[in-house]
């Protein structure tokens, strides 16, 4: 009787110990919630490969404090419900201090409250929905929020170009409205004024009424949020009605081949913003290693997941070897990450856990995109 009670206690203590360390005793564990089956698998498999590659490299280099790193991945199928199941499975079996995922914004938003409650760090390699910024202190992402571009552009136009009064012309759908809001919020908070925000239907082709209205307003420039088709129309029609204001495009649509072909001279001088392309040694080495391991160039989100694992591993490394790993110190470590040279570019986290990556300002000169400057990061 006494003996068996002792055994039970010992077993319970052993379980606790295993739980505390995560997985097999001695291993550091990172969880991953990614869509591995279903329609979204094409967005889930590359990041799972990127994450595996990072784990392999870390272990080959001797692991963390002499212990191995282990990745446990669960399938979310890009459904919030399955995402929550995947999260529960991970936290109940291997108790990871940090999880890489999700890919789909809806899944990330579904898991976030649970991770926040349990104190588990969540690092998404792919979700761009602006709502994730407010999802909690434990929620990070390595991919920029859609919001970042608008903020960066507003700051650039206000501080560097010196604009004080602008009009906005935007495509009236969820993405367009989101971009418009993030621009005007930042521009206004800097002391600038948005004198008009004119929306147009996604399929509209005649934008002369909106442009004519803007022509009559007291402003210095027009900020445009558009798709390639409307980009051509805005460029041509603003010339035709003699708008006489510089156009600033908050979209990479300007670089679309159809725009350069159809707009011709009307595209000349158009200035626009887009995420800067990652470069440097880390990027090159990651590309080579990925190609060697999987026989192809890194696909979408692979580099981001690779960076997520590397950053979490760096957090583990920063902790004393003996200490039980929990989410809280990992969170604090990530909050302090500045100008980390990753495979997906230079990474700095802001106070919302959003990555601040550099943006490129480009302009069309002699029919070709030319880099004006790189901002942020």
């Amino acid at each position: 009787m006494k003996n068996s009670r002792f055994l039970a206690l010992a077993a319970a203590a052993g379980l606790l110990l295993i739980g505390g360390c995560g997985g097999r005793q001695g291993d550091y564990v990172i969880g991953a919630t990614l869509p591995l089956t279903g329609d979204a698998a094409q967005w889930g498999i590359p990041p799972s490969r990127g994450a595996e590659l990072a784990v392999k490299q870390i272990n080959e280099a001797g692991g963390i404090h002499g212990r191995k790193l282990k990745l446990v991945t669960e399938d979310t199928r890009c459904h919030p419900k399955d995402g929550v199941s995947a999260y529960r499975k991970l936290t109940q079996s291997v108790h990871p201090a940090a999880i890489v995922g999700g890919v789909c914004s809806s899944v990330t938003l579904a898991i976030a409250p649970l991770a926040e409650r349990d104190g588990v760090v969540l690092v998404s390699p792919a979700s761009t929905n602006p709502k994730i910024s407010q999802a909690g202190r434990f929620i990070f992402r390595v991919i920029p929020s859609d919001d970042l571009r608008g903020k960066a552009f507003a700051r650039y136009l206000h501080d560097q170009v010196g604009l004080k009064k602008v009009a906005i012309l935007y495509v009236n759908n969820e993405g367009g409205v989101g971009n418009k809001e993030s621009f005007s919020r930042t521009f206004t908070s800097l002391g600038g004024k948005v004198v008009a925000a004119e929306g147009y239907a996604q399929e509209a082709t005649d934008l002369r009424a909106q442009l004519t209205k803007i022509k009559g307003m007291d402003c210095q420039a027009v900020v445009v949020v558009s798709y390639p088709k409307d980009t051509v129309l805005v460029m041509k029609q603003s010339r035709e009605i003699g708008l006489g204001l510089p156009l600033y495009f908050q979209t990479e649509a300007v670089e679309d081949p159809s725009v350069l072909r159809d707009a011709g001279k009307a595209a000349e001088g158009a200035l626009y913003i887009l995420p800067a392309q990652a470069s440097g040694d880390t990027v090159k080495r990651f590309k080579e290693a990925y190609k060697k391991a999987y026989g192809k160039d890194p696909e979408l989100f692979a580099a981001e997941a690779y960076d997520a694992v590397q950053l979490i591993a760096a957090a583990f490394r920063s902790l004393p070897a003996k200490e039980k790993v929990t989410g809280d110190p990992v969170r604090r470590y990530l909050e302090g990450v500045k100008k980390y040279q990753g495979a997906s570019g230079v990474i700095t986290f802001d106070k919302n856990g959003d990555v601040v990556k550099p943006m490129a300002i480009k302009k069309i000169q002699n029919g070709k995109p030319v880099l004006v400057t790189t901002i942020g990061g």
Partner: protein
């Protein structure tokens, strides 16, 4: 790196700017109205002759635009030749829809609802085929080319837009002459008001209907090319253009050229000047609300014929 400062433009003061805006919006209104008028005329020709709400005009419109694009952009035929080819294709498309879709259904005494759905089907087939072969991306009939601009009292119009105005005046005049003066118009009106009586008098209503389909297709093609030269072409352009043209037709009253002209001007005016008072996403709401109100008030349109057909 030095940053480019915003270019300095010499712009008139607030007051001069206001007047300029009104004139520009007025010019925009005229061009938009011309576009609506041509589509409306294309639609009315078929509707008045057959009593069928036919989407065929939309198909001819998109087909014409894409034939012009293929001929000018890919085969490098001079623009005028491409336009002639496109108009022939659009007209043939209208005729074919009449010959192989409308007449067979008519012989089987299909209701006008069935006729309408069949024409919608034909329209979708044309739209999807264009999308499959040419892709969904928007294309321009004048890629990369800058058209000359004429400035008139501060309102600016491109040479293309002036052409659109001239052509719509031509169509309006021609339409009036054919409808009221020529013998073709007499035959047309006879069939339109009573097909049976017309047949007894030795008129072949089928031939008249086919003529109207070819005419509707031709006008649809004109409108498609105008849109392509002034704006851009997309596979879905047919329905988009047709819808507002139909609204103008219904407001003006089917069969009334003058009614269509006035209604086109009113609809275009609302769309252009509406942005001054309202955010532009409300414009379609206003136009369609106006349609509903007018339909409730005068189902035949403001200046429409009383259609005797049930």
């Amino acid at each position: 790196m030095t940053l480019s400062q915003p270019r300095r433009f010499r712009r008139p003061g607030p007051k001069g700017r206001r007047t300029g805006i009104y004139l520009q919006l007025l010019a925009n209104t005229l061009v938009a109205a011309a576009g609506l008028f041509i589509v409306g005329a294309a639609f009315s020709v078929i509707y008045a002759a057959t009593g069928v709400f036919h989407f065929g005009v939309g198909a001819a419109l998109a087909l014409g635009a894409y034939v012009a694009y293929l001929a000018a952009g890919i085969l490098h035929i001079p623009l005028m030749g491409a336009i002639v080819l496109a108009l022939a294709a659009a007209s043939a498309c209208g005729w074919a829809l009449g010959r192989w879709l409308f007449l067979p259904l008519q012989r089987r005494r299909a209701s006008s609802l069935i006729q309408m759905l069949a024409s919608l089907g034909a329209y979708i087939v044309v739209q999807e085929c264009i999308a499959l072969f040419m892709g969904d991306e928007a294309r321009s009939l004048l890629p990369g080319r800058q058209v000359s601009v004429v400035s008139l009292l501060g309102a600016r119009l491109t040479s293309i837009q002036l052409g659109i105005l001239a052509i719509s005046i031509l169509v309006a005049g021609g339409g009036w002459w054919i409808g009221r003066v020529s013998r073709v118009g007499l035959v047309f009106r006879a069939v339109s008001s009573d097909p049976t009586l017309a047949r007894i008098s030795g008129i072949n209503p089928d031939r008249v209907a086919l003529g109207c389909f070819a005419m509707g297709g031709l006008l649809g093609g004109v409108s498609g090319i105008m849109v392509g030269l002034d704006l851009v072409i997309t596979p879905t352009m047919g329905l988009h253009a047709l819808l507002l043209g139909v609204v103008a037709t219904l407001i003006g009253g089917v069969g009334s050229l003058a009614g269509l002209l006035v209604a086109s001007l009113v609809v275009a005016f609302l769309q252009q000047f509406g942005v001054l008072a309202l955010s532009s996403e409300w414009l379609d709401v206003i136009v369609f609300l106006m349609l509903i109100v007018i339909m409730l008030w005068r189902p035949g349109g403001v200046m429409g014929l009383r259609l005797r057909r049930s």
